[in-house]
């Protein structure tokens, strides 16, 4: 077992000659909340996209708990243990809340039931469905969404949609959770609540979390360590206090 849950080695990508991200080295220890910050266009989401298999990295590679995942498809990477949320929420809008979470439980071997068992309605199907539903309810309860479980996802208020997306990601049973700007569009009160939720998730699920965020209060409130990206390059990394006081970081954020 590797010391780190996630370890990226010289990760980089170029689009048609433009190097969007270069030489990104992030090491995240177990149970850590790790922040990835940087100005707009710095390549943060691109890093997420590489880690989840949306883009194939041009340079370098990355390991999850010592296992190299570079080159796998999104589905496989998710099954190996990286789950994510999106900057602009991507729920299954026309499905009910509970079904959104149940899709997340799809690959869990505990609820395995093949196509023909479902069609023929063998006992295994009913067992799997019953257990998946129970598990989904547990998860929804944790996020305070139990009452809304039969709503269509797009009818939920914004804050609950964010929570649902996190619940769905957790349902896939990840080792590492990637949160892409979870606090975007939230008011301070909601942000505060979200911080509690993220901490709770870390403690309750023993989760390791990597998050992109602009809201510095959230970053300084919950992150253990940070990496700052600017123009695709690592500007600084380390503890929160140390990084945020780094003159280069201040310059990148505030300009000259």
């Amino acid at each position: 077992m590797s010391e780190y849950v996630l370890e990226t080695v010289g990760l980089g990508i170029s689009f048609g000659g433009l190097k969007a991200v270069q030489d990104c080295n992030i090491k995240i220890k177990e149970n850590e909340i790790y922040g990835l910050i940087g100005p707009n266009g710095a390549g943060k989401t691109t890093v997420f996209n590489m880690l989840t298999g949306v883009y194939q990295p041009t340079y370098g590679t990355f390991y999850l708990c010592g296992e190299e995942l570079k080159g796998h498809s999104q589905e496989v990477i998710n099954r190996c243990g990286i789950a994510r949320t999106f900057q602009n929420i991507r729920l299954f809008n026309n499905m009910t809340v509970i079904r959104n979470v149940m899709v997340g439980l799809h690959n869990d071997p505990k609820y395995s039931c093949n196509f023909f068992e479902s069609i023929l309605r063998l006992p295994k199907h009913f067992k799997a469905e019953r257990e998946m539903r129970a598990r989904a309810k547990e998860l929804l309860d944790i996020f305070g969404l139990l009452e809304d479980r039969n709503q269509l996802a797009y009818n939920l208020p914004y804050g609950k949609q964010r929570k649902l997306e996190i619940a769905r990601a957790l349902a896939t049973g990840p080792k590492l959770l990637l949160l892409d700007e979870p606090a975007a569009g939230m008011n301070p009160h909601e942000t505060e609540e979200l911080m509690q939720t993220i901490k709770f998730v870390r403690d309750k699920f023993d989760m390791t979390i990597l998050l992109i965020e602009h809201d510095m209060s959230l970053v300084s409130g919950i992150c253990d360590r940070l990496t700052v990206l600017n123009f695709g390059q690592t500007l600084a990394e380390g503890g929160v206090e140390e990084v945020l006081n780094d003159p280069a970081v201040v310059k990148a954020y505030l300009g000259d």
Binding site: T45, N49, V54, F86
Partner: protein
């Protein structure tokens, strides 16, 4: 020799396909929708020529003007009534609506004009230019020349005029263009006007080679022209021209071999293969879906 003559008769069909494909590619590139009814607007144009030249006995050039004008009006009406309400809806909804409009036009034409074949031979250009052993029809030359002129004119229009640049902007990113103050609805309307006028012109060229007018005359050429537009790279104006001519040549070569009966199947197979192997076509730009 046989091969050269196949290429020349391929140019004859290819010219018409190129003409239709130009309209297709404009609309697809800018409005981002597959206008299934494009082929049927050609049919409307052909019937207008029939009404003007045969029924009303007007001079040919008046008939052509009327046909192009009516096609343009049809284009505007279709866009306003059927497509504009769906701006921002799923592409699938727009596609199904376009199929509906195509059906609607065919059914209307049959109710108004009957299903029997009409003939308009006044536009036929007979005779051909002889170069040694090969001969090229004048109609082919006219079609190719006009298609080339239109292609150049469209390219210049898009590159040099304000409306043209607005079209480019809308085709790149509709929302961003809107934010930059481009009137997206207006630009799409202009696109449809140009596309439908081109369909009218295509109707004229169709009747230059073949006098038959039926309610379904636009359906197959429409789909074939889409194939041509895909071969050339959808959204690319020179690509439509290249694709149209290539498709015409492929068709002519197929028709001269013993597998002639499979011509349509072969063309469709080419479409599938190109979409799978190189969806951006010969001259098209490849875009990436953003995440």
């Amino acid at each position: 020799m046989e091969f050269i003559s196949a290429i020349i008769s391929g140019l004859s069909m290819g010219g018409t396909y190129a003409m239709i494909a130009l309209g297709y590619t404009m609309v697809y590139g800018i409005a981002k929708m597959l206008n299934f009814a494009h082929g049927d607007v050609i049919m409307v144009g052909a019937y207008m020529l029939f009404v003007a030249i045969v029924s009303a006995k007007l001079p040919v050039w008046v008939g052509i003007m009327i046909a192009i004008l009516v096609c343009t009006i049809f284009g505007i009406v279709i866009e306003r009534l059927a497509y504009k309400p769906l701006r921002g809806a799923s592409p699938l909804a727009v596609l199904i609506t376009a199929i509906g409009v195509s059906f609607l036009l065919q059914a209307l034409a049959q109710i108004v004009f009957g299903s029997e074949q009409k003939n308009v031979s006044a536009l036929m250009i007979n005779g051909s230019l002889k170069l040694g052993e090969v001969s090229i029809d004048y109609s082919t030359l006219v079609t190719l020349a006009v298609a080339a002129v239109i292609m150049v004119a469209l390219t210049l229009f898009v590159k040099l005029t304000k409306v043209g640049r607005a079209m480019l902007a809308v085709s790149e990113d509709r929302d961003a263009a809107r934010l930059m103050g481009v009137d997206v609805n207006f630009v799409i309307m202009i696109t449809f006007i140009i596309g439908s006028a081109l369909a009218g012109v295509a109707g004229v060229f169709k009747l230059m080679k073949s006098p038959a007018v039926t309610p379904t005359l636009g359906a197959m050429p429409g789909i074939k022209a889409f194939t041509a537009a895909v071969i050339g790279g959808i959204g690319s104006i020179p690509g439509a021209m290249v694709g149209g001519v290539l498709l015409g040549i492929v068709e002519a070569i197929c028709l001269k071999t013993p597998i002639a009966a499979y011509t349509d199947a072969i063309e469709f197979a080419i479409l599938i293969i190109i979409l799978l192997v190189k969806p951006s076509g010969l001259l098209g730009k490849k875009r990436r879906e953003k995440v």
